[in-house]
């Protein structure tokens, strides 16, 4: 009976994992197939004809290079702002319990249900007044606003996982507060901060709504793709989709071991 349940669970878990993995795999293989496979239906499981034809075609389209450059600039700025603003806030949240902490966590959970991007509309009006409309800096500011709650949440989990006593014992052993932070907290937090930074980068890289609304010529990659979507051929779509996933994939595979620790910390 127990073993039956165990088996059912493994089946279930596999299904759930496939749920996420299959579409990614599909997109990735189609991006590296030749044109005929892209149009074939139903599709085979493995890329039948490995080819750089599709991806090559994609890079040849006018505006793609510029969109990628814009996306890189915006995502890097978002990364920078998120860590510089998010880490101190997360540290403060972790070290001092206060009445609003739980409210704050719930609010962040809720952002998933919130059409935050739609709030970019009033922003667009103001950006025109401030001269930030259609600039990477403007988009990066909005992306920072989107990524910041996550950065604060993740870094506060991170700092919560570093016992306060480690700092306190450093104080009793002759450190002032800055020395204790630099010598004890920072070395322990570094990998987590790196993960947070990449996470902010990925959020910005994939954000499409605000980027579309706030730019006209200086489009980021997803905004460019969205604009070109309806009148572009299937191979173009697959190659574009693949490029959008790449940073997230790199992110997950480079920090996968660390993520488990992070998740463990977040659950304390």
């Amino acid at each position: 009976m127990f073993s039956l349940n165990t088996r059912a669970i493994y089946v279930l878990a596999s299904l759930l994992a496939l749920w996420v993995i299959v579409p990614i795999f599909l997109i990735a293989t189609l991006a590296f197939s030749d044109r005929s496979s892209v149009f074939a239906w139903p599709k085979g499981i493995f890329p039948q004809h490995f080819s750089l034809q599709t991806i090559g075609f994609f890079f040849g389209v006018e505006g793609v290079g510029r969109a990628i450059r814009n996306s890189l600039v915006v995502a890097s700025l978002t990364l920078l702002f998120s860590v510089l603003l998010g880490a101190p806030a997360g540290y403060a949240l972790a070290r001092y319990r206060f009445a609003g902490a739980d409210v704050y966590r719930v609010l962040i959970l809720m952002t998933r249900a919130f059409p935050l991007a739609i709030l970019a509309i009033p922003l667009a009006v103001q950006f025109i007044h401030l001269g930030l409309y259609d600039t990477p800096l403007g988009v990066a500011l909005v992306h920072t606003a989107l990524a910041l709650p996550f950065a604060v949440l993740v870094t506060s989990s991170l700092f919560l996982g570093i016992p306060k006593e480690l700092e306190e014992v450093a104080w009793t052993l002759g450190c002032n507060r800055v020395q204790a932070f630099v010598k004890v907290v920072l070395p322990l937090a570094l990998p987590g901060l790196a993960a947070t930074a990449i996470f902010a980068f990925v959020i910005s890289w994939n954000e499409v709504f605000a980027a579309t609304l706030l730019t006209l010529r200086e489009r980021t990659l997803p905004a460019f793709l969205l604009g070109a979507l309806n009148d572009s051929p299937l191979p173009f779509r697959f190659a574009g989709g693949f490029l959008l996933i790449v940073p997230a994939l790199i992110f997950i595979f480079s920090v996968r071991r660390y993520l488990f620790t992070l998740w463990g910390i977040a659950n304390r």
């Binding site: 016992p163 104080w171 009793t172 052993l173 020395q179």
Partner: protein, 352 residues
């Protein structure tokens, strides 16, 4: 080395007063244990002495310096935390050397001090390891070694044994006692475990709801508690309290009359007596009173009896080969020199 003196410490958390005017003096080279139930403010007091928290009122003196407003690094203290707080990214050697490096000590002094501390704690062969490779008991040794390496004037310990399992705790308790008796560092040690307090302390400071209720040598705290809280908190099983009638300046249990040190304020008085200070007999004896046995628990070195005398429950211990079963009546003879007398309304001991 030097003593510690705190005067009239008050501390509020929000609106809750956790310390309500605590004064305490610890002599040079003395080992004092702060004992009390959780939430009594003992750890807060320790952290105020360490400088990790600041009192709302009152002063802290270490030696002859007032340190009330100094940060922890200027107080010449060292602290051992309940979770040990070993730096996970440093080797054992660098953990122990941390305080010395902060003092910019010379390489020779660092080496000498680390070696001395490591030898003392029997961790010479662990110096190159990282904390993740250590057992709980070894981490505990590293934490104490790191504290002693800086040669603090005062050593503060916050429940350092409570994360160890029962057997290891017993071992480490004896070792800590031997070790600190050798190093002669003035020590303030916080615990909620009364056996630990009895075992280790030169003097025990018993705290309850933010106040110091008794401060004395272990054996006197055990045998002459100042109130029912101390008698009930220390000892396992705790002290028995029997409510007796006062007749002609004496307390009466059945035919047995016990004289009182002073005349009590009311018509009744509380007799405090430890379970091991009630001698039990199967037959009636002079100077004894009868009680009915309810439960017999064999614990190994002795039997623990639960008895009732006039609806009052009491515990007594008898030798393991004592032949007794529930429902029988025993005659209990209180040991004359070992009795306490308390006021049943206030719970305070009658003055002798």
């Amino acid at each position: 080395m030097s003593g510690i003196r705190v005067e009239n410490i008050e501390k509020l958390f929000g609106k809750a007063k956790v310390l309500t005017g605590v004064s305490l003096e610890i002599r040079d080279q003395e080992f004092v244990v702060l004992l009390g139930p959780s939430g009594c403010g003992k750890t807060t007091l320790l952290r105020i002495i360490a400088g990790l928290e600041y009192a709302d009122k009152g002063q802290v003196w270490i030696g002859d310096r007032e340190v009330s407003t100094l940060p922890p690094r200027s107080r010449k203290i060292a602290m051992v935390f309940q979770n040990y707080a070993i730096f996970p990214h440093l080797t054992v050697l660098e953990n122990i050397a941390f305080g010395l490096r902060m003092q910019k000590a010379s390489a020779e002094r660092v080496k000498a001090q680390v070696d001395r501390a490591a030898t003392l704690m029997h961790i010479e062969n662990l110096l190159q390891r990282y904390p993740a490779q250590l057992s709980g008991g070894q981490r505990q040794r590293v934490a104490v070694g790191r504290a002693l390496a800086v040669e603090p004037e005062v050593l503060l310990m916050d429940e350092p044994l409570s994360n160890l399992d029962a057997l290891l705790r017993l071992e480490m308790r004896a070792e800590l006692k031997r070790l600190l008796a050798e190093s002669r560092t003035t020590t303030l040690y916080v615990t909620h475990d009364q056996v630990e307090a009895m075992s280790l302390a030169d003097r025990i400071a018993v705290m309850n709801v933010g106040q110091l209720v008794q401060y004395d040598e272990p054996i006197r705290v055990y045998q002459e508690p100042t109130n029912t809280f101390v008698g009930g908190f220390i000892g396992s099983p705790p002290m028995n309290f029997l409510r007796l009638r006062v007749e002609g300046g004496q307390a009466r249990i059945e035919s047995l009359m016990l004289s009182l040190p002073t005349s009590p304020p009311g018509q009744e008085v509380l007799l405090g007596v430890r379970p091991e200070d009630l001698e039990a007999y199967s037959q009636q004896q002079p100077q004894s009173f009868p009680a009915e046995v309810r439960v017999v628990e064999p614990l190994g070195p002795h039997l623990l009896l639960t008895l009732t005398y006039e609806q009052q429950s009491l515990k007594a211990t008898v030798p393991p080969d004592f032949n007794i079963s529930p429902g029988q009546t025993l005659w209990l003879k209180p040991q004359p020199g070992r009795l306490c007398w308390l006021d049943p309304t206030s719970g305070q001991a009658l003055s002798r």
